[in-house]
Subunit: 349 residues, 4 copies
């Protein structure tokens, strides 16, 4: 028997993937175990997931489970644009900055980046890269990808998303949404997952599970046949096809069951709000981005950074300004937050 | 709560990924859950796995968990050969026939194939493609990949492997081993995992877990710094880096703990041997390959194929000859085997 | 001034790219020189070439000049099939054996090969690889590529081509033709270039110029909008877009002017026929393939090979059987042929 | 015979590839024509070019001719960095903005961009992207590429280059130089080609010929075995290997013969200087970049732009500011310059 090697009471503000899995998720995997079922998706859990996804996103929606967020983004974008297509994104987008060049190298997709103040694209920002159609020397901008919630912890309203998708579609561009933290955005806005994807005009979504309490589960959710064209072949080609898919699908079923996704995201968001509120009133502390979801971006007094980091763990965001990122997870509690705030207050004297 | 949607008593001879996970594997994941640990491999389970792998394969061995067998093969081969390298493989190799073109398209690796009678390469067979070094118009053959056990259920002896690796190294080629079913080969030969990899001169191994009873776990095991050069970067670029790696590592720990890998493989192999033995004496049945591991290749009387398949599930291997493949899993029992044989006997009258 | 460094009377049977350029081709480049014109195809020579190609291949035909045969094949195939497409070809096809892995690595195209006796595909041969549509683990066979004349010096009749294209289209596959030596095939058959491409149902052609007497000029000729979709963007992405395109287009204009292509190909073919006829009657000499175009495949008495090669230059084709390849060029003369035959006769005693 | 279809007295300031070829270049091709020589570089012109390049750049220098500037950059960078390498470049670099995504998609190279005021990198600017070595989620910065002269018409001094190469080497990064207009830089500085490449610490150069008066000729010049490792295989794989290489090599021989490269570049530069000087004194005209080479960047009075463009042809550089680019070629004359200035003066009243 494998024995526990870690302290299950440890907590960190480093990332929402430092947390483990929600117990209901592991329980679902245990239920799905035993006996033989078809592999590569030909199993009753994956079939049930198809139904659930149609319930959540409406008729015509499809889900194709994959293995990593990078894989979801690459396969989804490859399905959206032909070989000569390029994709407009924010310069801060995960797909551009944090995926080891996979979109370009694995996916063959040129990313056209736009600097943004808050991680959010607008029609005006998109236009800085959305031009040159027909110019044989320019990678053709044929899609836009947005992140919801963004890498900066901000959230697009449904109207902001609609402005982006209307603008993109008017120029013949599809719209992909990187939803590694889609649940946090929906919880923050108090709307359904559908309201900020399909109903806002999005064509294709990387729907994340891992940061919302799964062991390991990402997926591509598409709303049109065009957005899904070739996707299952691309998934295999991109090394994202899992053989015992029943276990991935069972995790997603757990996530949708009893709105676990919403409970988890609501908790993480609430803790971020509590944290930001307590930090903002401390001397020398500046919260630098709106706290729409489960991330707090903040500049701390320099002397306090390393002592605080030693206990509570967090990442630098901008070494020049001293900005750090504090992430809350589904299992972050008021006690975790309050302890950090108390420790910082003590450090500040 | 997610409810069970399948019959846990169902069995199939279709593939060793139709089976679920060994209960000890799921239990290990439960142990690894709770609290926060570092992501992307900075956790105590992955550190412990490093130690275990050095115990199993000797000092200097390294393990890098990935997500799919395709991913393991692509990343391992990319690390072994530069951009201009090509890889010699059997024409029946999974990497050539069953990975959706991922090695070529995701990995940028030209595969140079050789037909074989039994899925096994030899120095003579390798030489059919291992030539043309320095010829600027030929992809440079800089590695050989073998499969152990092979796609045809055969197993290389340590001496056969050594002949291949000596030959390859003498020509400046590295040797990769696709070990999706390495455990079955070791169990069949009654030797250690090390004896048919590192000690046989292999440089790099795709060590499979999923077909041996994991939920989802593959890895690249390397024995030299050269074979591992760049591997962690390639893993990310190939969308194979899992964030909550503790769960993958815990599964592998379970596999090594108490020699679970050997118990599982031995059972699967024994069932294949039992099955082949019983089939071989039936009229009109021809076992077409040596049954070294957990696969039985067999030509059945035509009239019996579809009725038998309806109950026991298996895949066609060669539609022209009527050859089918019957795979045994860690949880295949004597009862499963005997029932198939009885059903076939009844069909044959 | 650059001085001549070679012997302009030297001749070789090694390849039809050992020859230089037809003087009319160089003269066309001189005519196109001087002053400024638009680059990247916006010049009067490229516009005129568009007209000429419509004259030759009919309304709706388009030509896009590129730089190498490999580049032509890769760009043409990328335009024909989406990212998940695979292409069926003969195992002897240049695109599979002689392009450094460029189709797979540069183009991301999985090639599905079929052994053939004479380099020519048939519907039956195509069917060995044309299956598995919808199977998510199989690269999808969405195109067929044939070579005309083939790497073995054989030529498809229009009816043979039509059988291939009808079969491919019936299965939803497009057809590409690698026409590095298309002129030789047309000259051999006594038909137009159109008769063995567009009129035979081909969708897209790599139309070669270099082996027919150009300095450097290849192109993709397409007959439908679908076959040309994205081609100009792919050409740039594949590093095949020449800036001073006037010079490439002028060469192709010279090739079409006064049917220079036909004169050159007819001469090369006639010399191959003369050569094969004279060789076939010599003792111990076996001509191994039909001599339909400008190549002669032949097994020579072993003792004669190296002495003959020293003077006349040629490549081994199959070292095991002793088969060699003798290529004739547009500037091969009866004297060149007769001298080789005389030398061989002398060597044979 | 192909007849002339253009006006050889036409001139344009649009690009230095609107010009044709220098007559000495075409004459060299005529000299190299006739008879048979080895293909793919096994010819006396390519051998002679090897010698000339060693004369120009010193012992150990090698030249490998390719077909396009994009191809030169991609192959050179692929040889410099392994699959997991990334390359730091200016955000304005041709390799990033103007090559259709070829470096990323054909080359599999992640480009890490830095905004610059004048197209030139410095150690400080490089450091904005040169970090994160060993971080498995970051493409590894293993090379820097600079452009000389830059896309903005500016030129690095030898000392500026040395600062870049020393800094890069100190961090284990190689240095590539995109020398599509290297001749213009050397002519501007009054130094040898070697002084601003090898002697300044550069490892590998894309040496351009086309913009300096060749018909079609680019190349990769390397100074170490490491920088050339695999280059000839990559050249083929990137569809950059020309069969009748004698014609490409002969053009480069013409370029070096009698310092034609210097005569051509000096003329182009002088015309740019003359043009900038005359423009700078006109009312409402602002020259926006130092005129170090053959390009003039200038903001013109808005009303004058379109009438002037109709006769003299030039490209917009920044539509928001009204900045346009005027390029001079080897065959731009004082009369061409003076006519533009006179026309502008007339337009300004």
């Amino acid at each position: 028997m494998v024995t526990r090697l870690h302290d299950p009471s440890a907590h960190s503000f480093a990332s929402d993937n430092y947390s483990g899995a929600h117990p209901e998720v592991l329980q679902a995997m245990v239920e799905a175990n035993g006996g033989h079922v078809g592999s590569y998706g030909a199993d009753p859990y994956t079939r049930r997931l198809d139904e659930v996804v149609r319930d959540v996103f409406g008729e015509g929606a499809s889900i194709d489970p994959v293995l990593t967020g990078t894989g979801a983004n690459v396969s989804a974008l490859q399905a959206l644009v032909p070989r000569w297509g390029a994709v407009v994104c924010a310069a801060s987008a995960h797909v551009y900055t944090d995926e080891g060049g996979a979109p370009e190298r694995l996916g063959g997709i040129k990313l056209l980046t736009v600097p943004t103040p808050d991680g959010k694209l607008t029609p005006e920002l998109i236009d800085r890269q959305a031009h040159g159609w027909g110019d044989q020397q320019r990678p053709q901008p044929l899609a836009v990808t947005v992140t919801q919630s963004t890498e900066l912890g901000t959230v697009y309203t449904p109207d902001e998303l609609r402005a982006v998708t209307d603008h993109a579609h008017a120029h013949g561009m599809s719209v992909h949404l990187d939803g590694a933290r889609l649940a946090n955005a929906a919880a923050s806005l108090g709307v359904s997952l559908r309201a900020i994807t399909r109903d806002a005009g999005v064509d294709s979504v990387s729907l994340g599970g891992t940061k919302n309490g799964l062991v390991l589960g990402e997926s591509v959710v598409t709303f049109t046949e065009e957005a899904r064209a070739g996707l299952v072949f691309l998934r295999k080609m991109d090394a994202q096809l899992v053989s015992k898919m029943r276990f991935t699908s069972a995790q997603f079923l757990a996530m949708f069951e009893g709105d676990l996704w919403l409970r988890s995201a609501t908790q993480a968001n609430a803790m971020a709000t509590r944290l930001a509120g307590a930090l903002a009133v401390l001397p020398g502390v500046v919260v630098t981005q709106p706290v729409d979801a489960n991330a707090v971006f903040v500049v701390l007094p320099a002397a306090a950074v390393e002592p605080l980091r030693a206990t509570h763990h967090f990442y630098d965001w901008d070494r020049q300004t001293g900005e750090v990122r504090l992430m809350c997870s589904f299992d972050t509690t008021e006690e975790h937050v309050d302890r950090l705030v108390a420790d910082l207050r003590a450090l500040l004297g």
